[in-house]
Amino acid sequence: MANIVIDNIRKSFGAFEALKGVSLTINDGEFVSLLGPSGCGKTTLLRIIAGLETATSGDISIGGRSVIGLPPKDRGLAMVFQNYAVFPHMTVYENVAFGLRMQKADDARVRKQVEKAAGLLHIEPYLERYPNKLSGGQRQRVAVARALAVEPAVLLMDEPLSNLDALLRLEMRTELKTVLQSAGTTTIYVTHDQTEAMGLSDRIAVVHDGRIEQVGTPVEIYNHPATRFVGGFIGNPPMNFITLPVRDGQVAIGQERFSVPASGGDIVLGLRGETVERAPAGQGLEMQVRVAEPMGSHLLLTGSILSQPARVILPATETVMNGETIGLTVDAKRVTWLSPENGVSYPAAA
């Protein structure tokens, strides 16, 4: 059993606080992504879990045992570094074999494991080469193979596929997921590629500015972002935020009235661009379309709603002219309401 409990971890570099109290529980065999913009503290958190960095305060336990103070090698984990850290003076084969050699595995087992990992990552042709002649993407795959070869209970990966081309990345992603799932490996996967996080993860933790903003399944996070940041960060196009006046616990959108979890003042409507439908002219939410871009699979509209910037998606079968004003129907069950003051969303209506 290798569940991971991260309890209120803080980390300061001098006066700068990189992690401001992070708590997260990862179940045995679960695949959790840390998703967040550059510099939000993802690598720092991973390094603390690995034991390469000491937290300023807080506790981490793996498999029910606190690992604070334990050296990395006693934590039963493997890691893929953001900058690969593939040993330049060893062949690819010896790189992948490194962890097994340290465990004093016999040659037969080393060979078997290396070949398995190399096959998975498609690096067999380079096994006898030295890393400095390999491309970034090839080195990155060596780093992943090195971590997989030891079949760790816990695997930490810091943007392990960032340097691969789109096609290869898609393929690696699927294979990685299959392998880790069948091995029951508890995985923490750092990325700032949201499609990757959505596709791979059992759950996603969205990190922002040293804090976890939200933890949830990809669908939960997508449909009901906990904060304005999460909604804006996840989804392409990002969620639209439209501030509306509240009267008697209701807002008016076109002819319709929506009950909202606030009684007066303003409220922010969080609207996913693809949840709207085109309404008959003169009805629904009015959008001034500045640019209409037919994308093949869909039609992307950029413009404004109530003078606030907005992007929505309509089926490819619709035709909209640049400069046209159209009406949009909003599905009350698929919107998120947020407080205009602190950007936190109200709980989804049951």
């Binding site: 090698k73 493997a78 570094f81 040993f87 330049p88 490194f98 340290m102 465990q103 030295y130």
Partner: protein, 283 residues
Amino acid sequence: MTQNRSWIPYLLILPTVVFLGLLFIVPLVQTVWLAVSDNGVPSLANMQTMVSDINFGRSILNTFLLTLAVVPIQIAMALAMGTMVSKVNGGRETILWIWTIPLGISDLAAGMVWLSILQNTGYLNTLLFSMGLIERQTAWLTYQTPVALFIGIAIAEIWRGTAIVMIIIVAGLNQVPKEFKEAAEIFGASPWTRFTRITLPLIRPALQSALILRTVLAFEVFAVVYALGGRNFPVLVGEAYNWQNQNQNYGVAAAYAVLIMVISLAATLFYLKVVKVDPERLP
């Protein structure tokens, strides 16, 4: 445009080439000629005189023994010092600065420092006497105490010459990204394994430079030996000096100079071969 000016680099390099040519190659050729000639005719007479001198064998032996004793200790110490200082956060610059003080002292001055410690009335005897470990002044630097003399000279040389090795090693260590050691640590390598399997191979170029530089300098040891042992501890450069100044025999002095150069070249080639640096295996 640029093609027309291809002579500019040559012009800029010219002064250094002329300077080196005049002050290195010319004396080198002259020295070699001096060593293998006698009154303007080619001759091995100087070599014969050199080889048959009673101090010849001892000076070769002493020089080699000193090199063999000093260089490995210096490399090991420099590695240890470099590794330790890399773990220090505050005061790193100060520590390095103190460690490199001996670099700023001429080798003769370094010899004098150690003479003031090791001579009969020196600090060492004073200390030993005050602690009651010796009853009267003890001589350490005479021909009757060859082992103590050797150790004294070796210590002085180590004190004087380790800093330069350390600077090269520290520079090499600084070039090894910490992720390599961290990755090794994650995959279960002990500190010693990390040092031997990761750090050492990655600082090969620095190690090679340090070994070559330090060995060549060790074969040229003179002033420290001269200050501490005088003629009780003959070394190659000391013999060259004596033939040149005491005996006024420039030919034999030149023969020694050529011998030292040949040994240094051989040592350099040896290191280039043994501590091979394969650019393919560097970061």
